[in-house]
Amino acid sequence: MGEAAIEARGLVKSYGEKRALDGVDLDVARGSVCALLGPNGAGKTTAVRVLTTLTDPDAGTATVAGCDVIADPLGVRRNIGLAAQDATVDELLSGRENLVLVGELRALGRKRSRARADELLRQFALIDAADKLVRDYSGGMRRRLDLAATLVARPSVLFLDEPTTGLDPRGRNDLWEVLDTLVAEGTTILLTTQYLDEADRLADDIVVVDHGRVIARGDALSLKRQVGGDQLHVVCSNHADVARTAELVATVAGTTPSVDEAARTVWTPVDDGVRLLGQLAQALTTAGIAVDDLSLGRPTLDDVFLTLTGGRAEHEAAA
């Protein structure tokens, strides 16, 4: 109960001069979904490789499903499934053969491997292509087979390295739905992604990494708060009204709003956005100002990300 499925402290891994991981801590609660979010080269894949025992960290410790990645790699491997970045299914085997191979290596025996393979092929809508060679599969089918292969032995912790890269929107939605099912069954998932909407959609916790370091963590809402509150946003119908609108916004929000004359836009950051939105709407109506748009913008995860990584870049430039 409450025990962490993944726990990492101070992970460091260098490749030559480059520090792929530079002191990463992670805590993923059992049954939860954690997204490692970051650009290419941020260290996401290296983190997955260390946690799945494919590579040893230079420093730091980590346990997965209660097993130490350095002292007990086999224990870790018994409890995990890994879907690497490019679906590493075997092109020269059929879908069924791929799953049976993994089943046999997982010591299920031939008969149980075949039964489990059939079950998964059906679950992932691959049963009609079961005996086709994987080299004739589409990208989406490969991904599904890859995910199915990680599930052969029903692992308790699943690592998915950029699971939806290269999928079309439909394939992405299908995969998300499969992951929902797994989460409902209690599987712990650590996934990496470059897509903010994906992290937002799937994860309970988001860990933002850049240059091998964790630069922010929390759920989507708390990350958005880190960037700041809401933005109140008014677009006037007429140029003549812009100045008066700015005065109204200043009065209502108690701030000095930004103004873009050409776009007839006035905006300002606010703390208590919803209440102020109502007040401002009333004030504008009373003043007889016609507006094209009046909205309350919440920062997207994109804003979060740009703020966080941009801030770091500036910091580095200054240093």
């Binding site: 490749y15 799945t52 025992t53 494919l54 590579t55 040893d56 086999l74 491997r77 018994r78 995990i80 499934g81 890994l82 690497a84 970045q85 490019d86 590493t88 075997d90 092109e91 020269l92 085997l93 053969e97 191979l101 993994v102 046999e104 290596l105 997982r106 010591a107 060679l133 292969a149």
Partner: protein, 265 residues
Amino acid sequence: MIGSLGATWVIAKRGLVHMRRQPEALADATIQPIMFVLLFAYVFGGAIGVPGGGSYREFLMGGIFAQTIVFSAFGVAIALSTDRKNGAIDRFRSLPIPRSSVLSGHAVASLIRSILPIVLMSIAGVIVGWRIHRGLPYAISGYLLMLAFSFAMIWLGVMLASLAGTPEAVQGIAFIVLFPLTFVASTFVPVTTLPVVLKQIAIWNPVSSVANSLRLLFGNPGGVGPPGSSWPQLHPVTYSVLWIVAIVIVCAPLSVALYQRSIRS
């Protein structure tokens, strides 16, 4: 958890299925050795004399066997580096199987794979006029020597894969290493025809001694050098066995270590 032998066999079976489904690899193991037998027997055969007389086609077979076995090192190197490139090795390594079983699975598959060309070449050889002239024990010893040499060459292949990395690099290095190794030898021509430096290399080249051993064991011409020849020429079987043992003792642990290091990044 699955044992070492079980995992090795599962991965070996996969390697054999791969060979069946890759026309290029299958051609390397089937058409190429047959083509070599026919080419050398009919195209070069007339122009190359065998010292002490005897049929060139009979002389040729020991050499072609040896050469084909050396090239099997290339097969395992390509298979391993391809597995690494497309992530299969990582997938295996994320499974609870003994660390060594990926490598041993590939080795077993290669060893089994090397039987096919040996059988096909034997048949092709018989068709062009090659015969085994000594008794069954010698013939069996000859084939066992081929398997032992295959086994040694597999470790050379593993080393090649670990050093080269990508399948393309393996191809490049293999071309540079394996061609001179198999041609500067008594595989296709008697060493007496070679210029002096190459001749010394050829005499001490293990590929020569394996070829000569097979000729000796099968009772074909060119097996043992005339009196006064260098030691390897006079004792080809002993010299070959020494090489095979040395390659396995040195290369196997070294190539395993190199391989483990190369995948642990």
